[in-house]
């Protein structure tokens, strides 16, 4: 048996000592794409933040373990976590605009992030970023690099967050609602880009999204969260096409579908 890349064993997470997530067990292998869907407020972002050591002061994992390559990340100090974040685990934040620093240009922030991970050639970084921007329909990349976040649209900031995370080619990418602010032509391109990174670098991806169509297309396995618990978990085709649990059925039943005549 291959050792899973990431495993949650009976995880409970509390905010201010009140359990918010209970009894979550999940496993993903290298190269796998795991989709997490479910209720707003059910704890999807919380699961990701816990894996990245980003729960903040009020939150903590109060039971169970989270294993990255067999190592319990909950025992890691801040320093060890910092080394893991970036090249090993990357994250696209749900709210990219506010995850960026408001008073520095995108280009500076990008170079700084890369420098922390040993890449210092500004021109090379810029060239790669520009090529990536171009592939996800940001054709005036130079302007983007010279802009401050407030000078960009919601969808532009989201794409900046995507490029910042993907340019480091992390082994494991957490993508929290990565396409929610994008028009569907750009969404399709971003999905393609993520799939290509898995193809080329064997990148594993955890994608949280409300877009059941996207999950259905991308994910190998799907986890459905409801009220802090994992209600259904299995192969994408099984979960989406033949949901067993009431909540999953409700969720899939509520997906608005486009009428094409």
């Amino acid at each position: 048996m291959q050792q899973p890349l990431l495993a949650f064993n009976n995880v409970e997470i509390s905010y201010d000592d009140e359990a918010m997530i209970q009894g979550v067990s999940l496993k993903m292998n290298k190269g796998e794409i795991l989709g997490i869907v479910g209720e707003s407020g059910s704890g999807k972002s919380t699961l990701i933040k816990a894996s990245m050591g980003l729960l903040g002061r009020s939150g903590r994992v109060s039971q169970g373990e989270i294993l990255y390559q067999g190592q319990n990340v909950l025992n890691l100090g801040d320093e060890a976590f910092r080394n893991l974040r970036g090249p090993k685990m990357g994250m696209i934040f749900q709210n990219c605009g506010s995850a960026l620093c408001p008073i520095r240009t995108i280009g500076d922030q990008l170079c700084e992030a890369m420098k922390e991970h040993g890449q210092t050639d500004r021109q090379a970084i810029k060239d790669e970023a520009l090529a990536m921007f171009d592939r996800i329909h940001l054709h005036d990349g130079d302007r983007i690099l010279n802009s401050y976040p407030f000078e960009l649209s919601g969808g532009m900031n989201q794409r900046v967050g995507i490029v910042m995370a993907m340019i480091l080619k992390p082994d494991l990418l957490f993508a929290d609602e990565p396409t929610s602010a994008l028009d569907v032509t750009v969404q399709a391109q971003v999905v393609k880009e993520m799939m290509a990174l898995r193809e080329t670098f064997g990148m594993s991806i955890v994608i949280v999204t409300h877009n059941i169509g996207v999950v259905s297309y991308m994910a190998d396995n799907v986890a459905v969260m409801h009220k802090g618990r994992l209600v259904e978990y299995g192969k994408t085709r099984d979960v989406i096409d033949h949901p067993i649990k009431d909540y999953t059925r409700q969720l899939i039943g509520a997906v608005p579908r486009i009428r094409r005549g």
Binding site: Y15, V37, G38, E39, S40, G41, S42, S45, S58, Q94, N95, G97, S98, H137, L138, R143, N146, S147, E151, L152, S153, G154, G155, M156, R159, E177, S180, A181, L182, D183, V184, T185, V186, Q187, A188, V191, H210, N211, I212, G213, V214, S216, Y217, Q250, L251, A254, V255, P256, R257, I258, R259, R260, G261
Partner: protein
């Protein structure tokens, strides 16, 4: 139906160094009472900039905006406050609607109190509206960073509708919500539309949702409106290249 909002030949430019971008390029449209007008289009095509000009967060470089026939650009002080009771906005990023230092409940009550409603009455209305938006009473005492994106978005919808605006601008208001909550919000919007004749300008990337809710649709590309019609007309028979690509990209 009477016209509530008229937007005429609106232009907005931003300059960056030697380059100037025309974010909004000669845009005109109307919204009638009880109507839901959808605004879809390319990311970066100027949708939020239009919303910001209507709500006076940005000022237009040219063109006019009229509410009930009265020009509303460049108003100040009391006149401006009176107009902006009638126009409310729900932002793309829900936390933008709230002061991070205020509890959600206080944030929702702020507008009512500014318009002279007593505190106890405002509190009562606030709790009722939270409930309508699917949030229990305890959320009134939470800070914006203590709730999920979807919960914060429901609170910001409560903040906007609590003052009974004539026009509600929703900028990607449902994109942070799961589809079951989305359906509840859509139902709520329908109800306010038929009972209170509330009008909407709905900026949204989800074409299926737009098709469910909107009476009319504008498609934007590079600062301009490139196509208008009913959602069915546009989705079933798109004319412009960009619109065709948009519809073909839906998963």
């Amino acid at each position: 139906m009477s016209k509530i909002l008229e937007v005429r030949q609106l232009v907005k430019e931003f300059s960056k160094g030697s380059k100037t971008i025309r974010a909004v390029d000669d845009v005109s449209f109307d919204v009638c009472s009880g109507e839901c007008l959808g605004l879809v289009g390319e990311s970066g095509s100027g949708k939020s900039t239009i919303a910001k000009m209507i709500t006076a967060l940005e000022s237009p470089d040219a063109g006019g905006i009229f509410l009930d026939g009265k020009g509303i650009t460049g108003l100040k002080g009391r006149e401006q406050r009176a107009v902006y009771k009638d126009i409310q906005m729900v932002f793309q990023t829900p936390t933008d609607s709230f002061n991070p230092r205020l509890k959600l409940g206080d944030g929702i009550m702020e507008g009512m109190i500014n318009h002279g409603i007593s505190r106890p009455e405002a509190r009562k209305k606030m709790l009722e509206t939270l409930k309508i938006c699917g949030l229990s009473q305890e959320y009134a005492d939470r800070y914006p960073h203590q709730v999920s994106g979807g919960e914060c978005q429901r609170a910001s919808i409560a903040r906007a509708i609590v003052v009974n605006p004539k026009l509600l601008i929703c900028d990607e208001a449902t994109s942070a919500l799961d589809v079951t909550v989305q359906a509840q919000i859509v139902e709520l919007m329908r109800q306010l539309k038929s009972e209170n004749h509330m009008a909407y300008l709905m900026i949204c990337h989800d074409l299926a949702l737009v098709q469910q809710l909107c009476d009319r649709l504008l498609v934007m590309y590079q600062g301009k409106i490139v196509e208008t019609g009913t959602p069915d007309e546009i989705i079933m028979h798109p004319r412009e290249d960009y619109t065709k690509r948009l519809i073909d990209s839906v998963f």
